[in-house]
Symmetry: C2
Subunit: 132 residues, 2 copies
């Protein structure tokens, strides 16, 4: 299988597959006579894992760690848990921040009446004055 077929099978772009190889998330593939990368079924598996992790917003560094752990089946999976746990925390924190942001934006939005001019725009006034 060549890279284009792998791309359509997994929903990745050709470029990102090459990028993952460069970043060591996929192994260096063997090449055909014409220097084309040749993939087997294992590559589909691995790319799907990568893609699923990316959908969960895991960083490439985190995914690389998971993949390395997968190569050592006999150690305990504490590290896997830790990665997921810390990621859950990060997401929770981000949600909290965004909710706070949402409140501020709404209160900002309420400070501008419909027909006013920029000159007396409550939003711009608030932005200029409010402390950081």
């Amino acid at each position: 299988m060549k890279i284009g077929e792998l791309a359509t099978l997994t929903g990745c772009t050709v470029q990102s597959i090459r990028y993952y190889e460069k970043e060591q998330l996929l192994p260096t593939m063997q090449r055909s006579d014409g220097n084309y990368r040749i993939y087997g079924l294992a590559a589909i598996e691995q790319l799907k894992l990568i893609k699923h992790c990316r959908n969960l917003d895991l960083s490439l560094a985190e995914i690389r760690t998971l993949l390395e752990l997968k190569q050592q089946p006999d150690i305990t999976c504490d590290t896997v848990n830790k990665i997921v746990d810390s990621h859950i925390e990060q997401v929770a924190l981000r949600i909290k921040e965004l909710k706070h942001l949402q409140e501020q934006l709404r209160s900002l939005r309420d400070s501008c009446s419909l027909k006013s001019t920029v000159n007396e725009c409550g939003i711009l006034k608030k932005l200029s004055v409010k402390k950081t």
Copy 2:
């Protein structure tokens, strides 16, 4: 006032102030004999506005638009409203996405028991199999 003082007064770093100037969020400042940027009180105002907007996660492009609008006090502030509204929507969407993510991460986390080895780790299994 030189750039370092402005930085401490506003809580920005010296580099980011220079960056904002390069990106046209601050005007090109006049220079001293020794080629140092010289700032007045207006710069504090403007930097605080920028910083406050950044705290609200507005992009530099959005902030640039707001600052341009500020220069034209007589037009209606529809555009200001639109920027804020669209930003509120973006944040709401992101919160929704993150909540969905959070669910998936938690269900993933639940699939790994405490003492298992990587070999039989429910998390890695799920990640490999689950569809994108």
